[in-house]
Amino acid sequence: MTAPTARPAWLERPSLAGRIVKALAVAIILTLVVYPFLAVLSTSLATQGEISRKGGLVIWPDDPTLEAYRTIFSGGVVTKALVVSIGVTVLGTLASMVATIMMAYGLSRKDMIGGRPILLVALFTMLFSAGIIPNFLVVKQLGLLNSYASLVVPVLVSAFNLVVLRNFFVNIPQELIDSARIDGAGDLAILVRLVLPLSKAVLAVIALFYAVEYWNAFFHALLYLSDTSKWPLALILRAYVLQGQPTTGSMNAMSDSLPPQEGIQMAVVIVAVVPILLVYPFLQRYFTKGVLTGAIKG
């Protein structure tokens, strides 16, 4: 596991042809994943003149410019949407984590009275989901339409994340919990001082799941927010890039009726991707640590 080229004695020496094929396959896969991001990035850095001269295909910008980014950050729709998305993501992730931790910890005592039925209530929701229409009607009845809360409250706890976290809590050695209890700690103190510090890795992964979910949320916003001034970045992205329209209440540089320039469109895509790219490297090492695989298996 630790030595980079540990080969068991019974395993044949890999053939040269096999190694070349494998290396090629890996190189192609890496290219297929990475290239789209690079293409978007270089288009966002090119001038409109260069984009149209090259027929829309910019592999490397001759004359890189940040003009597109200056335009979208000069205030207006994209800036507003960015603030909305960041706010919903941060507050939503916090709320989801608190609710999920509370419920997962509450359900982690194996012989707890009522624990089994409550867990089943959550588990069953993985088997079915009440479609779009009934969910919409519930959100409407609760008066959540057109509020930012409609982006958070209806998806507050994911049954999957709950089960992953609960399984992790259940596997914390009972001796640790018992000794804390003998020292006089109550259930809440045990959660805060013992259980949470032991679960940092799995908490990080689950927080990433929630944050990505909130950041990318698009359909709920479309469904519940008819007021376009409240739209998060994902919906602005759809309006600008996929529908090629300047949205209502549009900003200075884009207020002409022409569809937004390709460079600006791609800059919006980059703005939507970068936060994920920034957080991902710090959290992905926990995947490889096996936290997740263990959790999924268990």
């Binding site: 630790t2 980079p4 080229t5 068991p8 019974w10 044949e12 896969i29 890496l30 994943v33 789209p36 991001f37 978007v40 027929g55 829309g56 295909l57 609710a99 999920t100 509370m102 419920m103 910890y105 509450g106 359900l107 012989d111 707890m112 009275i113 009522g114 209530v121 088997l127 009440a130 479609g131 779009i132 229409i133 009934p134 969910n135 009607l137 519930v138 706890v157 709950l162 018992d178 209890r181 259930d187 809440l188 990433l208 990505v212 950041w215 990318n216 994902a234 992205l237 390709e262 895509v269 939507a272 991707v273 490297p281 992905q284 995947f287 490889t288 997740l292 695989t293 999924i296 298996k297």
Partner: protein, 329 residues
Amino acid sequence: MTDVRPIEADRTAGQPAPAEPQAPPVRRRTVWQRLRRDRTMLLLTVPGLLFFLVFHYVPLLGYVVAFQSYQPFLGFTQSPWVGLANFATTFGDPAFWSATLNTLKITLLQLVFFFPAPIALALLLNSMLSSKLRRFVQSVVYLPHFIGWVIIVSISQELLGGTGVVTHLLDAVGVHNADLTNNPAFFPFLVTLQVIWKNTGWGTIIYLAALVGIDQQLYEAAAVDGANRWRRLWHVTLPGLMPVTILLLILNLGSILSVGFEQILLQRDNVGADAGEVLDTYVYFHGIVDGQWGPSAAVGLVKGLIGTALILGANKLAHVLGQEGVYRR
């Protein structure tokens, strides 16, 4: 609050707790005592429980509109009951059958092309001897899973659309003006390609875990018996992956009628409803957009029931065939 609750005595029922020399004898707790002991834990579950009830179970009640001629201003209580008329309307609608057909087409393509992809990639990753390189490749291929559909569809239109790199490449080999993003015949393939790009890497996690779980001695024994690497793959590795593969197949069966709602909603207008409508978008456009609440809820209900029935049925089948399935019997 101050007394030490004898948790450990309860946990190791039958044996005395080792830490305390004078452990109290194990006794049955009354419900009241257990409630007292567990009250903090129970209280902690309340917000989450409320969430699940309000946003997962109450909406199920909302399915009554499938049997009503629902009028939003009248509400559930005042809207007239129409029996199964909504179902009749739906099943008589050619657009519904077209959407069903499109859904099944995409599901089938995904089953054939997407489902095996993570297995193949996991085998490739697993065969890489350098764990450093493997970890690097893993972190790259996991990444697309975290990119939202709006972004993926945007990128895909940039690359495959009229001015994209793929269009240029196709042009070079003699296929001119091929805009893959608005070609109705290509649409199911386009959707499948996007799913492969997004989820293949992430899908390897569960197979890699299963591969780690295969006993290395089996490989060694097979090698000693003269099995070459292909025979070891066939006789050791693939059987080792079987339980998790069947598990994922069963779970996929449950979602056979739901194919990437957000993904398709974003692209449906590029190819028109004939090629781009699937059941979920049908429900959305007829229900929320056109206000046909009853018939759309009927579709949603049928879809949900079929999905659940398929999961339970497939699970039963897995048990009959001697596999573990999603849950044990």
